[in-house]
Subunit: 161 residues, 2 copies
């Protein structure tokens, strides 16, 4: 079931990309049922709080009418950043399954390891690398496209002059 849930997160990431968001998706599961799923909404909300994980946690709290998400697992296409790792700890999620690692901002082992820091009062179980190539591929294709557009615009500007 792990890969099946990650595929829903991937679908959320792809849907976010339609709106020119960095393609990241997250899903929250309780008792084998998806209770919340979301894509990154930073650009649409024009606010850096709206990462996929934050939106999914907010939805899950509404569904359960509870801030305490024990018994819940998160599936997210990218290693959570500091903000999202903190949100996962604060919300007491049982487990986090993530896809691609993030060497620039990942806080589940890449830049630092907040999720397994025993100084905090909660440590979720962490499993990385789930469908990592597919999850990471979404991001590299997105950024490759962005760079190509930037290059084309520069060229266009030069030609205009």
């Amino acid at each position: 079931m792990i890969e099946e849930f990650m595929r829903i997160a991937i679908a959320e990431a792809k849907n976010a990309e339609v709106y020119d968001e960095v393609p990241v998706g997250a899903v929250i599961v309780k008792d084998g049922i998806v209770i919340a799923s979301a894509g990154n909404m930073k650009e649409r909300e024009n606010c850096a709080i709206y990462h996929a994980e934050i939106v999914a946690i907010t939805k899950a709290c509404k569904v359960l009418d509870n801030w305490y998400l024990d018994g819940c697992d998160m599936y997210v296409t990218l290693e959570p950043c500091a903000m999202c790792s903190g949100a996962i700890i604060n919300s007491r999620l049982d487990s986090v399954y993530y896809g691609a690692s993030d060497m620039k901002t990942g806080c589940a082992g890449s830049v630092c390891n907040l999720l397994e820091n025993t100084s905090f009062n909660h440590q979720p179980k962490v499993i990385g690398g789930v469908l990592a190539d597919e999850c990471g591929g979404l991001l590299s294709t997105y950024f490759k496209g962005k760079r190509a557009i930037k290059k084309a615009n520069k060229l266009q500007k030069k030609m205009d002059i």
Copy 2:
């Protein structure tokens, strides 16, 4: 002006306490003007995302119609947790002035130091200890009251039996 802005954050914390929230308040200032202020709303929203800093950042992004809060400073009564430190980094706030330290969850030096971690692509200026006694006093009074109520309830339960 630092203490004046912190006094607004304290007022937000006190207002949050009216709703039985842990009394924490945050203010965001740009060019000497308060553009957003908020108290902790976790209990009211029934979601651990709604710390004062997160609510204030969300409001500031709406006011400026921009996720990029450069030129903005945050004043917050308590040392930010991992989630809020990450949100501050993601939102590119210039400076963070905080009141009381938080030895259990603080990520501006107490448990760890995310805000000054040079591995991330942004480091705000951090100044702790602003009106620390007053900010910390709000929290210790709140938790003292909570413990007294718990004790009284236990006693009441014993008497009922």
